[in-house]
Amino acid sequence: MAKQGVDPDELTQPFWDAANEQRLVIQNCVDCDRLQHPPSNTCRDCDDGGALEWKQVSGRGTIYNYGVVHDCPVRLLQEDQPFNLAVIMLDDDPGIQMYSHLPGVPVDDVPVGAAVEVIFEPSANGQLVPEWRVIDG
């Protein structure tokens, strides 16, 4: 599925740069050593807003949940309707979620709980975007 392009901004430049190198990085608080996603400018758990670093994660996860999108607000995705939209939980920290269209998985036939691994797919402007595929077997 062709996604809209991405224009990295100051906050997310490291995330998108890493994606272009086919690496998945997630924000981590140096003070409380806790991952957070989506990224923000300060740690959401430390009262004084702990300092943040970008930490490379394994790129393994499981399918936590999914829905099937039939009426999508994003124009570019409308030609692919209906499509799966799943939430992946990272093995590194099952509290951290990422979205996936689950390329290759039939619509509404999603194996909840299955193991997945990150892949990187080009978006409309060539920026690589993390996606997830089911690990066979």
């Binding site: 996604k3 809209q4 392009g5 991405v6 224009d7 990295p8 901004d9 906050l11 997310t12 430049q13 995330f15 998108w16 957070q36 996603h37 989506p38 990224p39 959401r44 936590y64 949940n65 999914y66 829905g67 099937v68 999108v69 039939h70 009426d71 999508c72 607000p73 994003v74 124009r75 995705l77 209906p82 939209l85 939430v87 509290g95 951290i96 979620q97 990422m98 979205y99 996936s100 269209h101 509404d108 909840v112 978006s123 409309a124 402007n125 975007v129």
Partner: protein, 440 residues
């Protein structure tokens, strides 16, 4: 006069705060609603500012209060249903020139300031307290109750309005663009519709407890039935159609398992109330409805979307806060009017409250029993957003009208209307009010 946004200190976010210090000392008296419509037709007399003035004047009349007795105004400044005035679109000068405008030409058209309202309601000569309650009427009600209790105002109007423009919901702007900035891209590239998060929580709920989407049908039918008895609502005014199980279950998916009817219809509307101290309210035209408590939650999910565990923990906490501050238990509720837009999360609110003793995973079974306004266990007697369109206001109006005994064809008959609860929006977070026919 600059209008501040309500400070955090006005909300009751924590457990263990004890009985609300103003319990029974603040009352709602007057109710005012403007006619609803699907979208703005471009006329000055139907712009969001105009319908807001209409609703406010009706609330004042309803309470039987002279406008110069009013000293407070709480406003929700955001009025969008998801429709925005596109950048570069010419301004509607005929509309702008019909009002006393502020520095912002879209004030009264695509947003609402307290300043705009006061400039266009010259009869409000003595308002010296204004405040913004962000987001929803549920929030603004908490602010109003606290402000009256704290003595910041003794007779206060509170209003929430919605505008809706031509064009499909949320489909303009960034969603039509070739690229997204990096930060929103992390959540928006995948194209989840507004109801997606709720749909996923519902899917997880169904898997965990062995329930199905079909089990929502009696709730939807009941909500529309109640909505059609809400003369102020959109469906009653414009499309008086029942919503039986066949029609509900045959409708198209938006984000499966959320279908079209699980998504409330965006409309233009305005709803207003007049609040006062219990003392002053005693002399007004309508029976006072006393506020026993207000409670809030500012919980956020750990990551992208709230999990079922996060939702259940927070609704349970919210239930405890609601009861603690009001000094009541679930057994004291005559009815519940928790939020329902999207319909697929109403059960989370019900279970968090423990309404009629139901526990996690039991609400959809409860929906298969008598939940009508004639029965002993009324669910959403307002009909909510399902029954009357997107406003997040009907639930509050209904609590007031039920307890005043003037809910008309919607009046609950299977229970004595003594205490009700309303609020939302989402089950994680939100603002809630406990209403009572008696101050103690």
């Amino acid at each position: 006069m600059t209008t501040p946004t309500a400070p955090d200190s006005m909300y009751r976010n924590d457990e263990g705060l004890g009985i609300w210090e103003h319990r029974g000392k603040v009352a709602a008296v007057g109710v005012g609603h403007a006619p609803t419509s699907r979208r703005w037709d471009g006329r000055p007399e139907t712009c969001v500012g105009a319908i807001t003035i209409d609703a406010l004047r009706k609330a004042i009349d309803d309470a039987g209060v002279a406008p110069d007795q009013i000293d407070g105004l709480v406003v929700v400044p955001v009025t969008t249903t998801g429709a925005f005035w596109e950048a570069g679109k010419p301004l509607p000068m005929d509309v702008i020139q019909s009002f006393n405008q502020t520095d912002d030409p879209l004030d009264g058209i695509a947003k609402l300031s307290a300043e705009w309202l006061l400039k266009n309601m010259p009869e409000l000569t003595n308002v010296n307290f204004t405040m913004y309650g962000p987001g929803c009427m549920s929030n603004a009600l908490n602010v109003t109750a606290q402000a009256v209790g704290d003595g910041l105002t003794h007779t206060c109007l509170v209003v929430k309005s919605w505008h809706n423009f031509e064009g499909r919901y949320y489909q303009g702007g960034a969603n039509a663009g070739a690229a997204l900035p990096g930060t929103p891209a992390i959540t928006q590239l995948w194209g989840g519709p507004a109801s997606y998060s709720t749909a996923l929580q519902f899917a997880e709920y169904c898997r965990k407890y062995g329930k199905t989407h079909e089990m929502m049908a009696p709730f939807m039918e009941n909500s529309r039935r109640n909505g059609l008895r809400f003369p102020e609502g959109y469906w009653a005014q414009h499309r008086p159609e029942e919503l039986g199980p066949e029609d509900y279950l045959a409708s198209r998916w938006i984000a499966k398992p959320a279908n079209l009817f699980d998504n409330d219809i965006p409309i233009m509307m305005s709803g207003a109330y007049l609040f006062s101290t219990a003392e002053r309210a005693a002399d007004m035209k309508q029976k006072p409805v006393y506020i026993l408590n207000h409670a809030s939650s500012n919980t956020r999910p750990r990551s992208l979307l709230p999990t079922l565990d996060e939702v259940e923990a927070d609704t349970a906490r919210t239930g405890r806060k609601i009861y603690e501050g009001a000094g009541i238990t679930a057994d004291d509720l005559s009815f519940e009017n928790m939020y329902d837009g999207f319909s697929l999360f109403h059960q989370f609110h019900l279970e968090g409250l423990g309404y009629r003793g139901i526990k996690f995973g039991e609400a959809l079974d409860f929906y298969q029993t008598d939940i009508s306004i004639e029965g002993p266990n009324p669910v959403s007697p307002s009909g909510g957003n399902v029954g009357s369109g997107r406003s997040r206001v009907w639930m509050h109006t209904d609590c007031i009208q039920q307890l005043q005994g003037r809910a008309g064809a919607r009046q609950v008959t299977g229970v004595k209307p003594e205490v009700g609860v309303s609020g939302g929006p989402m089950p994680l977070g939100g603002n809630y009010t406990v209403w009572s026919a008696s101050p103690d």
